[in-house]
Symmetry: C2
């Protein structure tokens, strides 16, 4: 009997070890697509410092707010912001209902794929395109349009759905932070409902944690009330608009912030200026082979002033080419076992 | 040995039962300050319907959004909105730095407690008082002012701190909903930072789940950046402003909404018009003895159109006098064991 009991104990111990084995692996390696290097080390050191109850830098879970820019930080933004490519496709889809667009700029340029004529219409032309495709309908109708486009559109370079052009290392970072009781937010210049159309499914970020550019809306009463999107901009969530919306909507200063361009600078400054330990990071697009390489000279996602300040203040600058094992989830994890 | 083992088993069973006993009590009685009656029954029936996995009305936890008005729904609002009483006290506190207020309306009226002269300045006067006491400083400085007032000010009728004049039955409802994986939000005409000064401590509602009226803010760069509150109104979170902010900030339609006045009507309509089962409730101030009794004729918290619609649509109307065992946490639970 005693010997049997011992065998049972041994068996139970073996079962327990088998069950715990993957857990211990998981705990040891929360960021598998990050190569061992300064960024991974800085992230892990920071997270341990603010979550370890014995640490002098410990922060209560309720205060663990992490904010992420979207374009160029969580997904790609080349050859143009994906939301702009959506707007162009929407102009084409809606054209049959707008015969006047055949002869009116900037719509004519979009319909004829005339990049030169489109550029000539400038920011004013772009705003007209965004207005025509993003407003004048209810939030629900716009959400439906965005989802339909995301389901069918393909990126001109990769041929992939846009929602697959997300950064695998950043997905792992979001997961890692949530496992450590951080609340993960998007704070982006993108329009808020467009981002909500995919953020929950793709990033695990629920609509109420997506902050972005908004249009003034108008309550439409009736038996089936709705919320109409008007063409008037309510909030431009770029540059100083980012700390302003964080203050207005979250009401706490982030503990961690990640961006990739000068449009994120004030959000990073606001985070860095908080008391106690804070983490401030930039995704640096250095990978012309697997993604794109651009910074100071780019018209999209320009990283110039924020790069200077990151260097001065020793913020974390993620060298995409050197520090990421893979960029997209669909990339082969070529060197996963090499490192 | 065998007998000892049996005794150990009995002991373990006894321990287990002892541990589970209070849990089972808790599960059986989540709303102890609500008398058995139509409102308590409607709440419990609704919560069970949307949280029971076997129910045809089951809703996933991520979609369980509950929104509450604040003034008159979670705490009292008589003889005036507490935030207005705060503004009056702030005028008095700030008066030494503003000698011109002694001779300028509406400030003169506040300093002299001249209700008639104050009334004569109307909404314009009130806006001047709110502007002078709520803006021109950083969010952090305003938060500090609000917290200092909440810690020291006392209600003219009860002599209690304002943060004690909260409704015990609603605290229990908030707890009950959170236990059932609802995310509880405030959506109120009150200014957002004023409410954040106490909502987390008093209601267990974190700042990022407080939505309210906001002022336009302006990023102030520098070594210690700050967010300046300007006197320009950004969003008036009353009436149609409530579903608009829910749409903009939460991005999901609430599953449950509670209000107490016509200013909540559109939020209630928006909630009620959602697909599937929804809960819409009104706190009806019927208790002149323990709180205040007012509805259709009141200038504060007028409940007229929303009361008509609640009756038409069979929304839940909470009769405070009849259905609440106690109003405030400091009330003696007089009839707790009578029912």
């Amino acid at each position: 009997m005693r010997r049997l009991a011992n065998r049972r104990q041994q068996l139970a111990l073996a079962c327990l070890l088998t069950l715990l084995w993957p857990l211990s692996l998981l705990a040891a390696e929360p960021l598998p697509s990050w190569r061992d290097g300064p960024s991974k080390s800085a992230i892990e050191t920071f997270v341990k410092a603010v979550t370890d109850k014995g640490s002098p830098d410990y922060v209560a879970p309720a205060e663990r707010i992490a904010v992420f820019d979207n374009d160029g930080t969580l997904w790609s933004e080349q050859p143009a912001y994906f939301q702009i490519l959506f707007a162009f496709d929407e102009v084409k889809r809606m054209a049959p209902q707008h015969p006047e667009w055949k002869t009116t700029q900037p719509f004519k340029a979009v319909l004829e794929n005339d990049h030169k004529a489109l550029s000539a219409t400038g920011m004013d032309g772009l705003m007209k395109i965004v207005g025509a495709t993003h407003t004048g309908i209810s939030t629900e109708a716009f959400m439906k349009n965005a989802k339909a486009w995301l389901a069918s559109a393909r990126h001109p370079k990769t041929g992939r759905p846009y929602t697959e052009m997300i950064y695998q290392p950043m997905l792992e970072l979001l997961d890692y932070l949530r496992q450590e009781d951080f609340k993960t937010y998007i704070v982006s210049g993108g329009e808020v409902t467009f981002m909500r159309a995919f953020a929950e499914k793709v990033y695990g970020i629920p609509p109420e944690q997506v902050i972005g550019t908004t249009f003034v809306t108008a309550w439409q009463p009736g038996a089936t009330p709705s919320i109409l999107r008007t063409p008037k901009l309510a909030h431009n969530d770029d540059g100083p608009g980012k700390p302003e919306s964080i203050d207005s909507i979250i009401g706490r200063r982030p503990l961690l912030a990640f961006g990739n361009s000068d449009g994120d600078l004030q959000m990073l400054q606001w985070t860095a200026a908080g008391s106690g330990k804070r983490f401030v990071g930039l995704v640096h697009h250095t990978d012309a082979k697997r993604e794109w390489a651009y910074d100071r000279q780019s018209s999209i996602g320009r990283l110039d002033k924020a790069l200077d300040q990151a260097k001065q203040q020793s913020w974390t600058i993620v060298d995409m080419a050197a520090e990421w094992r893979r960029v997209y989830p669909f990339d082969a994890p070529a060197d996963e076992h090499v490192q």
